[in-house]
């Protein structure tokens, strides 16, 4: 059963990985991704960052993205944890963990989940910089990263 959590508190990637594979001898590979808050973005130093989301839709959008990954790759289980609220540089923001029988499916699904999360899940970042507060602009490169999966170029064989 996939786990999807939106929370203000920090997470422990090691503990989440251990939980995902506990007692399951079919797991042969686990891929994980941790997104972290940087101190510089677009040339400005970032003091703190506030993450806003759309409660209800966020969970629904993430569940849909996870379902799509499950339909596309041979995945055993998935954990997605995304933090909201105030974060500062070095803080963890997001965790994606995928377990599968073999590494190819785990790597691909993990990257797919992050690419889709970044373009489809309703989160917004606002940064506090010395120049004042600013909303982070969406990046075209994120749309391009997500579009690769639609073309199927990165599909598992």
């Amino acid at each position: 059963m996939p786990t999807i959590r939106i929370q203000t508190e920090d997470f422990d990637a090691g503990a989440e990985i251990a939980k995902l594979r506990a007692g399951n001898p079919k797991v042969g590979a686990i891929a994980s991704f941790v997104g972290v808050c940087r101190d510089i973005n677009d040339g400005e130093s970032v003091a703190t960052m506030t993450l806003e989301h759309y409660p209800g839709m966020t969970e629904k959008a993430l569940a849909k993205i996870v379902d799509e990954a499950i339909a596309r790759w041979r995945i055993i289980d998935v954990t997605v944890v995304h933090r909201v609220g105030e974060l500062k540089p070095t803080d963890q923001i997001v965790l994606v963990v995928v377990s599968s029988g073999h590494r190819g499916d785990a790597f691909a699904a993990c990257e797919f989940l992050m690419d889709y999360l970044k373009t489809r899940a309703p989160f917004w970042k606002k940064e506090q910089t010395p120049e004042g507060a600013r909303w982070v602009e969406a990046r075209g490169s994120d749309d391009e990263a997500a579009a690769r999966w639609v073309a199927g170029r990165k599909d598992a064989a």
């Binding site: 997104g35 993450l51 806003e52 989301h53 759309y54 209800g56 839709m57 629904k60 959008a61 995304h82 923001i93 997001v94 992050m114 999360l117 970044k118 373009t119 489809r120 899940a121 309703p122 989160f123 917004w124 970042k125 606002k126 909303w135 982070v136 602009e137 969406a138």
Partner: protein, 84 residues
């Protein structure tokens, strides 16, 4: 009535996070609802103007201009997402 929600930059620029509106005659899609709200003028006209990067969700699913809107729906307006 339709429940409107606004997030992030749109919430700040419009000065509201949520409101209930009655759908006037002829407003039955995302595009016509957007035009109806723009007709309020002021910030509504500029924030929701054509060409502004804007996403819309109907009942918590991503929508496009042609997506139908009916009484009881929840319609959210927000900027392109920036999570992860």
């Amino acid at each position: 009535m339709v429940k409107l929600l606004f997030f992030a930059r749109l919430r700040e620029d419009l000065g509201t996070a949520a409101e209930e509106v009655a759908l006037p005659e002829g407003v039955a899609t995302v595009a016509s609802l957007r035009a109806h709200l723009m007709a309020r003028g002021g910030a509504w006209a500029s924030v929701l103007a054509d060409g502004k990067a804007l996403r819309v969700a109907v009942n918590q699913d991503m929508a496009d201009p042609a997506t139908p809107v009916k009484p009881g729906d929840e319609v959210a307006f927000f900027p392109p997402v920036t999570g992860g």
